[in-house]
Symmetry: C2
């Protein structure tokens, strides 16, 4: 079970910058009430962990795609970040450089930079590549742009082009119609699950299964998280409390390279769910230990007290990397020992400077714990949103920019287009 | 020349959230005065752009290392971020996957995660690998840990192990002594150049030269930036003004995959230089367009008005990626057209919501413009620091955490070590 150590948030440790035990109890009660309220009419993401039958089916399907050398996900935002996160956590760092264990390489193209698209195109051979196009609306401009680019090439080069496509989309929209017309293999995104809560749906599961991850274990971890409600409740209570106390920045800092993308995923979850009106919206900030000790910790230690910190650490001590060098104090130590001591040093120093910080302790990095962690953070986000009195499931603020972009695109006929 | 479009910061466009033309003129005067003050006793980084002789020597040296298949940089913070930034900007996205143009692959190992170190070790063959160990103090624990790990392996496997090492370090410290004893090829970090200002010194230049980048052009761009002082002066003036107005978050958001790591580099420059006392320290936030339109822009548009935004865009329209699909509005457009329209849509929408934003327009991504951009940002940082009344060149706040970490490391004899 993942545990949350929040003692460095308590007034007993950090004085008036912290929260008293009594106050914490009362804010937690509020958070629990909010959770009960949410459960009365559970949002879509809460129904995902028990979909073992669907997962088994996806696992079976996935086998058919494992002869491809590359799986390219075309998606953006919630249709990309979950896939990036699972890959980062659960595959070899150099998966795409010969360490894929016989499973396909995985590329997630989540932008419309012509340089990136053409450079990705440089290194993949279409005959060895399957594309998973993911967009719930079926009309996301970035995703369709990349789709059109590769579709044209596929059609030119491959008579079996339809077999190189798998769609993950909603029940309506351009992509669904294209699929129906052309007989493309398609997964449905559950209607009541939004992008940033979709990692445990078909959106995250299909690419994970193709690349050999244990998706049933992932769901199990999420399902079991429900028995551990005090973790998301406490996390939500503390995030809510410190935001209301004027700390408008929430730093999320894993001490683990494999958890790095979890911070990108958290950043979307937190920003898009909670940034809802001029009075409400903590800004999530991604950092990584120990690297950012040499980049951000000066600011975290001595700058304004406008932040609350979440650390993530891994208990499992493998692999053992022993440092051997006679006559230097690091000789005889392990790299994990240094890594953990650096984390303790940083949290200790922040605490001495009265800066609230907490730590998710993860037993080890595997599919089960990934499921538990991601689900707990989703729960915490829904609870925090409820406490803040906003809707954590919509994102009305992105429409204006989109509208303006399309107007510009239509108007311009010169060099821009 | 790189230009800064700051019109979306003006009161004429965003009302009282913006700055009036008069006020801007007076803050710019302050910034210019600060720059004149800095120039009287120029900090080390300002002496780097004219070191063409040193650059030529490094370029010549570098040729000797190009027969290696891999260059692995062991460094952290300022001894890593510059290298990552130059690689990201100026080499193929898949440089290390067969697109290195015959130059060595480049890996920058900037953490002490035993999983990462051992996974990097999995994919490199020591006989084909040269390590550039970079630490100005010569004693950075993270860097030495990775060095000791690979040194032991090198000594076991290679009688010519000394030829697989290049150090970049100061005139004192462990690494310098090791180099003297063992005759290791060593570059000196200029004494008056700190890590986060060192990208144009030996720290950044040697790895860049080995991987085939035009380091003289890089310096030229930086040298020419001095003729364009109004850019860093205006940028510093605006950053200073909006921070003082209570906007404690500074978002840095390139619309370019190749400029993504520039945001990580900026983040260190800004945080470590300006986060100096409880009253001073804007928090830099990395974002990337269009990707983060689907992650952060909801918060940026509708959340609290606690941010100032810096965008970066690329004028050059190559490569042309044309989208072909009859019957869809994207058909006939180019991907660059969509990319630029999305940027315009986002800045337009932020402006309508009275959120100050500005844009660095970069003619094209090459070594010359990289040098100009990085140098302008360093200048802007030094000026902003002066205006804020703090020392932008020290980092006292990282010492306590280090001290605590070493105490923990020494005390523990159990599983931690």
């Amino acid at each position: 079970m993942i545990e949350l150590d929040y003692r460095n948030c308590l007034a007993a440790r950090i004085g008036s910058e912290g929260i008293s035990e009594e106050k914490l109890e009362s804010v937690k009660k509020q958070a629990f009430a909010e959770l009960e309220n949410i459960k009365k009419n559970p949002p879509g993401f809460m129904k995902l962990p028990v979909r073992f039958d669907e997962a088994r089916k996806i696992r079976e399907d996935a086998k058919k795609y494992r002869d491809f050398k590359n799986l390219v996900v075309l998606g953006i935002g919630g249709s990309a970040l979950g896939n990036i996160t699972l890959k980062n956590m659960l595959t070899h760092t150099y998966h795409n450089q010969g360490k894929n264990g016989g499973y396909p390489n995985l590329y997630v193209l989540d932008n419309v930079d012509p340089e990136w698209t053409s450079e990705l195109s440089d290194i993949i051979d279409l005959k060895d590549t399957v594309f998973n196009v993911i967009t719930k609306s079926g009309s996301t401009a970035e995703t369709l742009s990349n789709f059109f680019f590769f579709l044209e090439k596929l059609k030119k080069e491959r008579s079996d082009w339809k077999d190189h496509l798998v769609f993950t989309t909603g029940n309506k929209g351009f992509l669904r119609e294209f699929a129906d017309e052309n007989g493309i293999k398609t997964y449905s995104v559950p209607e009541d699950v939004g992008g940033r809560y979709s990692v445990l749906s078909e959106v995250g599961l299909f690419p994970a299964a193709v690349t050999g991850l244990n998706i049933e274990s992932l769901l199990e971890g999420a399902a079991d998280a429900e028995e551990n409600e005090h973790v998301p409740v406490t996390y939500a209570a503390l995030q809510y409390y410190f935001y209301k106390k004027g700390k408008n920045i929430s730093v999320f800092m894993p001490y683990s390279k494999k958890l790095e993308s979890t911070a990108d995923w958290f950043r979307q979850l937190w920003a898009e769910s909670l940034g809802k009106n001029e009075k409400t919206g903590p800004t999530p900030v991604k950092a990584i230990g120990t690297t950012d000790q040499h980049s951000q910790v000066q600011l975290y230690m001595e700058g304004p007290k406008d932040k609350v910190f979440t650390f993530l650490s891994v208990k499992d001590s493998s692999p053992e990397v022993k440092l051997k060098y006679d006559g230097h104090f690091l000789g005889g130590k392990t790299m994990r020992g240094l890594f953990n001591a650096e984390l303790e040093g940083t949290t200790g120093a922040l605490t001495k400077e009265d800066r609230p910080n907490m730590n998710f302790e993860i037993p080890k990095i595997d599919a089960y714990n990934a499921g538990e962690l991601l689900y707990q953070l989703e729960m915490a986000c829904a609870i925090t949103g409820g406490m803040l009195g906003i809707d954590p499931f919509n994102q009305p603020g992105v429409e204006l920019g989109k509208k303006l972009a399309y107007e510009i695109l239509e108007k311009n006929t010169g060099q821009l287009i």
